[in-house]
Every structure is written in structure tokens, then in C-alpha cells.
């Protein structure tokens, strides 16, 4: 990993964290918009807590250089779920969240690509 890709990776990690901190907070504290959204999915309230917790965890992992790649994998998982939710149940018309989800799928994939050597099991195999 050279210097410039490391810097890019950190910018991407920080931008995911900047999005996840408020969204996780709203989910975990029961912000009415979140509640409405998860009601549509039939996941109120357990699913809201689970996703909120996972977002917070991804955020923590992303901010630690040793675990950033795992945080990115978790983010990719959550956001793939979000894209499924928007395309199958919620739709993209109200609000920007559907597009943010698509963007984060791309951003987290980029982090995984940059830091692919840090996925221990793969690194060991490919060495």
C-alpha cells in the first residue's frame, strides 16, 4: 500500500464514519424517521437496534488501522442490505438515503480493494 492510496483509504473511512455516527445514533435512540422506516420493513424495533449496533461497530472498526478492512466488509454487508431495502420496499423517491447506500457500497468496496492485503486469511494464502 503506498502513501497516496493510504490517504485515499483514510478519507473514505472517515467519510463512512461521518455518515454512520449520526445514523447509528438516530436508530439506537429511536428517532421517529428511523422508526417509520423500520416499520415499513417490518423490523421494528429489533431490526432497528441490530442495524444501529452494526453501524456503530463498523464505525469503530473503520477508525482503527488494524481492523479498517473488516469494518469496510461489514459496511458493505449493511449497505447491500440497505440497497435491497430501498429497491424492494422503500423506494428511492423520498430522501437521499437510497443513493447514499449505493454510494457506500462503492466506497466500502474501494477500501476493501485498497486494503485487501490486510485480510489475514487471504493474505496468508496468497503469500
Amino acid at each position: 500500500m503506498n502513501r497516496s492510496s493510504l490517504i485515499i483509504s483514510w478519507i473514505l473511512q472517515l467519510s463512512i464514519a461521518a455518515i454512520f455516527i449520526p445514523t447509528a445514533y438516530f436508530k439506537l435512540t429511536g428517532n421517529p424517521e428511523s422508526v417509520a422506516l423500520f416499520s415499513k420493513l417490518g423490523m421494528e424495533p429489533t431490526g432497528r437496534y441490530v442495524i444501529g449496533f452494526l453501524e456503530a461497530a463498523a464505525c469503530g472498526l473503520l477508525l482503527n488501522p488494524n481492523s479498517a478492512v473488516h469494518g469496510a466488509i461489514l459496511t458493505l454487508g449493511i449497505m447491500m442490505g440497505a440497497v435491497i431495502a430501498h429497491s424492494s420496499k422503500i423506494g428511492f423517491s423520498d430522501g437521499v438515503f437510497g443513493y447514499i447506500a449505493i454510494a457506500l457500497v462503492i466506497v466500502s468496496s474501494a477500501i476493501i480493494f485498497i486494503r485487501r492485503k490486510q485480510i489475514k486469511s487471504i493474505a496468508r494464502m496468497l503469500s
Binding site: 420493513l41 417490518g42 423490523m43 431490526g47 466488509i73 458493505l76 454487508g77 449493511i78 447491500m80 442490505g81 435491497i84 431495502a85 424492494s88 420496499k89 486469511s121 496468508r124 494464502m125 496468497l126
Partner: protein, 512 residues
């Protein structure tokens, strides 16, 4: 991969099943409950990984042919050593130390009774050196306590006396982490034995524990070097004036990699290492294969003299024997110059190391027993056996092997791995990876966390105590009242051992 299970078929099935599961769970998520999408996402990710393995990566045939199932093989292979060690290995078949040998040390270290029952698990038809007992054992109380004074031959004012035949063999701070060094030093002090610092430069952490130390001068002379790797007299003089430094050992070679130097990569040179070892940061440092002062027998013997004159304490050498004729010639040169090291540490080819190329570890050097026999024999034959002491190293981790070494001419015993095992080493064989799971050969704080210095120091002391107990019992059983009387006729040496071969070789060729 063959056999009754057709992995190819199974993997083709799996490669279809994984994306199908993703579709299935998607339908479940859409029509039944959104929670199914947790599984949808998981299987989508697995599908992506599988596509990568099957069609994108090119390095691994197995993954390209079988996809994600092929990975199972890599995972199993990577945990193979642990599986074998814990589940499948016989008690006597692991190497370098089998489970019986290890557990004896663990028990001694914990102060648990080490008696075994029913019978030995070793094979008595095979070629192994054994010890002869006497028909008339002596009383333990009648045995003269062990004592050995290094430097007495030269009438040194600062000679060094040990009262137990054991010493901790060279392991550097660098190969060992800080906590292991501290636990070993503290334990050695509690046990009343000396510890070799290894070639890690100024032994800061060793000295901090206040035990008695043998400073090792490696071929790069870490801690006492000039920039070109030559000896800096002033630095050595200053270090030897430290009250904890009792002897100096000039390392000529080491059993695990005789004739081989080493390289300290610049990534490993932290600020602390750079200070302790006296090397600049940001540059690889080469440990040459020999001291730059020592290019022939003449210069080597002269160098011993130079160090003796500077150090004013006993100065010895450590080497692994390659050609016995080389050693003979060096002894002749010592006689000619009338200069003798205060001790000669003979390291067997079976010795351990933090890191060495496989070819050297497995293929080079003479094993300890024949090498030790030869060194002793040559010194006796040249009439200079009383000019120096012999220390033996190489898997001398239990009382019987130590006794055999003493009978072959050693005056004292060095062990490195014996003490590592006592510290809790589980023989994970990761000393060179900085990932030692029991925090001994690693600098990773999270792995060193589990190593409690005070606790492990006690283990070292217990281990030494247990060895010493055995030692006097064995002397009594062999009918020996003075440790100086342990001789080779105390041993039963089968025909087809390496030792017997070497005895014959020396007998037939006086020029060896």
C-alpha cells in the same frame, strides 16, 4: 484430492448452491420477513468471493478449480501443526522436543512431583546413550558440592565461580521480548545461576534485574562496535566494569546456523534497538559470518587475547564444530601463543535459534555429543585440558542428557530452550514471526500481556532446583563423590550411535 469423496463434484455443487441460496433468501426476505436479507447479503458476499477465486485470481490452481471449498484446504493446512500437536501426535514423536520431554520440564517448573509410573515409553532397542549406575551407590550427603571457577587458570582477580552446573544460554533481547528477558533474568537470579545476554547489544533489561550475566559479543559486536563492525575497546571496557557482567563470550559460530551471519532489517531497528545495539536507524545491518578481526587461527587467538586484556574478567568462545581438524589447529595455535580462552562453549548442530535458513538449521554442523567428545579429547591429547573449561549446549534440557554431556567432558551446561519451555513455551515454532502465542519471542504487547514476570521467574527457579535435585541423585546412583569424576566410562554407548562413530574416527586418525 481423490479418494471416495469426489471433491470436484461437491465443489461444483457448492458453487451453484451458494448463489442459489442468495436468491432463495432474497425471496424469503421479500415475501416472508425482511430478516432473511441478513442471509441474502451473506450469501451474496460469498458469491462475490467465490467469483473472485474462480475467475479473477490466477495464483492458486486449487481456488481456481474448486472455488471457496478449496479454501477449506488452506485453512486446515494452516492449523495443521496445532491439530497434529494436540490431537494426533504420539507422546514421543514430536520434534525438537516431544511431549514427554516437555512435560518433564513443565512439571519441574511448577514444582510438581515428576515421578512416572509403569515404565519408560522410550524404545530400548534403539541406539541411545544411557548412563551406567554403580552397584554401590553413595550417600548424597557424601557428595562434594559442585563448584567451578572460570578464569582460575590465568589467576584472574575477577574470576567467576558458579555453584550449580547450569547457565542460561545466549538469547538476545530482540529474539526475546522484554518480559521474557526480565522473567528469565529474575528467575536466573533467584536460582543463583548466570545468564548469557545473547548478541543483542547492551543488556539493558538483563542488567535491570540485577542477576549475573555473561555478555555475548556476536560477530556484529552489537553494543561494543565501531561503525565498521570492529571492536570498540572503550565501550567493551566500560561494559565489563559493570558489576553484573561476570564473563564475556565471543561468539564464533552457533549450532543452528554455523558459518552463517545474519541481517537485521531496518524495519526492525527501533530507536531503542538502535541505541542498545549501537547501529544507525534506517539502514539494514549485516551480522557478518565471522568477526572481521578473525580471519585465520592466528588472528582469532590474538583476538581472544585482546578481549581478555580489555575485559579483565573471564573471556571464552562459543562455537559449533564443523571440522575437528580446524579445532585441532586452533588448539595448536593457542599452545603456540600460550593464550587460552577461559571457556569453550560447544554448541551442537541441534541448537535452536530465533531465525535461520532451513538448510543451515537442518544440514550443517556436528551434533553435540560427538562434537563435545572431540573437543574434550583434542584438549586432553594436546595436554591443555586444564587450561580452559568446556560448556556444552544443544538440547540439554533434562537431567539425563545433561549428565551425559558432563560425562563427555563438559564442565557446565548451557540451555536456551530448556529455559524457554520453563517460561511456558509450547513449541509453536513461531520464534521468527513476532507472533509467539505465549509472549516469549515477540514484542507485541498484547501477546506479552499473558506472561507475568514474577510468576514465570519462580518457574525458572523451580526448574533449576528440580534439575539440581536430580543431578545429586544421579551422582549418588553412579557412585560418584566429586563432580569432577563424572567420566565417559559412566556411559553405555551403543555401537551405531553418532558418538560411537566419532570415538572410532578419532581413535583411527590422530590428525583429527
Amino acid at each position: 484430492m481423490a479418494g471416495s469423496v469426489d471433491l470436484h463434484k461437491i465443489s461444483r455443487f457448492a458453487n451453484l448452491a451458494i448463489p442459489s441460496m442468495a436468491v432463495l433468501f432474497f425471496l424469503g426476505g421479500h415475501y416472508l420477513s425482511f430478516y432473511f436479507h441478513f442471509l441474502t447479503v451473506t450469501f451474496l458476499l460469498l458469491t462475490l468471493v467465490n467469483l473472485f477465486y474462480l475467475f479473477i485470481q490466477k495464483k492458486h490452481t486449487l481456488l481456481r478449480n474448486f472455488g471457496i471449498l478449496g479454501q477449506a484446504r488452506y485453512i486446515i493446512e494452516s492449523i495443521g501443526p496445532e491439530m497434529r500437536q494436540y490431537l494426533f501426535a504420539n507422546d514421543t514423536e514430536e520434534r525438537p522436543f516431544n511431549r514427554i520431554e516437555r512435560s518433564e520440564i513443565y512439571r519441574k517448573s511448577k514444582g510438581i512431583d515428576a515421578a512416572s509410573a509403569f515404565g519408560s515409553q522410550l524404545n530400548f532397542d534403539n541406539a541411545e546413550v544411557k548412563i551406567r549406575h554403580s552397584m554401590y551407590p553413595v550417600d548424597k550427603a557424601d557428595i562434594k558440592p559442585y563448584s567451578l571457577t572460570f578464569g582460575e587458570e590465568r589467576g584472574l582477580e575477577n574470576s567467576y565461580t558458579i555453584t550449580k552446573p547450569y547457565m542460561v544460554s545466549a538469547m538476545s533481547y530482540g529474539a526475546l521480548g522484554e518480559k521474557a528477558v526480565r522473567a528469565l533474568s529474575r528467575g536466573a537470579r533467584m536460582a543463583g545461576i548466570a545468564m548469557n545476554t545473547g548478541e543483542g547489544g547492551t543488556p539493558k533489561y538483563h542488567m535491570a534485574e540485577g542477576g549475573e550475566l555473561i555478555f555475548q559479543m556476536g560477530t556484529a559486536k552489537f553494543g561494543v562496535r565501531n561503525d565498521d563492525g570492529s571492536l570498540n575497546d572503550d565501550k567493551l571496557r566500560k561494559l565489563c566494569a559493570e558489576p553484573t557482567i561476570k564473563m564475556v563470550e565471543i561468539k564464533l559460530s552457533q549450532g543452528a546456523k554455523p558459518g552463517k551471519g545474519g541481517l537485521l532489517p531496518k524495519e526492525k531497528i527501533t530507536k531503542e534497538i538502535s541505541e542498545l545495539r549501537g547501529v544507525p536507524m534506517g539502514k539494514d545491518v549485516v551480522s557478518p559470518a565471522h568477526h572481521i578481526e578473525c580471519v585465520c587461527k592466528k588472528t582469532t587467538v590474538a583476538f581472544i587475547k585482546r578481549v581478555q586484556d580489555i575485559a579483565m574478567i573471564p573471556v571464552g568462545i562459543k562455537l559449533c564444530i564443523g571440522k575437528t581438524s580446524d579445532f585441532l589447529e586452533m588448539v595448536l595455535e593457542m599452545k603456540a601463543q600460550n593464550i587460552f580462552p577461559d571457556f569453550i562453549a560447544v554448541d551442537g548442530a541441534e541448537g535452536g535459534t530465533g531465525a535461520a535458513p532451513k538448510a543451515f538449521m537442518d544440514g550443517y554442523g556436528m551434533p553435540l555429543l560427538p562434537a563435545l567428545y572431540s573437543v574434550n579429547k583434542i584438549l586432553v591429547r594436546e595436554g591443555v585440558r586444564d587450561k580452559t573449561k568446556i560448556i556444552a549446549a544443544g538440547k540439554l534440557i533434562n537431567s539425563s542428557r545433561q549428565f551425559i554431556a558432563l560425562a563427555l567432558g563438559a564442565d557446565a551446561i548451557y540451555s536456551a530452550r530448556g529455559f524457554m519451555l520453563s517460561l511456558g513455551c509450547i513449541q509453536a515454532m513461531l520464534c521468527g514471526n513476532n507472533t509467539c502465542p505465549v509472549g516469549i519471542t515477540t514484542h507485541d504487547p498484547s501477546l506479552q500481556k499473558g506472561l507475568i514476570v514474577e510468576e514465570k521467574a519462580k518457574r525458572i527457579a523451580n526448574y533449576v532446583h528440580g534439575l539440581e535435585h536430580d543431578f545429586y541423585e544421579m551422582l549418588a546412583a553412579s557412585g560418584i563423590r566429586d563432580t569432577k569424576d563424572i567420566k565417559i566410562d559412566q556411559l553405555y554407548i551403543p555401537e551405531d550411535t553418532a558418538l560411537a562413530g566419532q570415538i572410532k574416527a578419532l581413535l583411527n586418525n590422530p590428525n583429527l
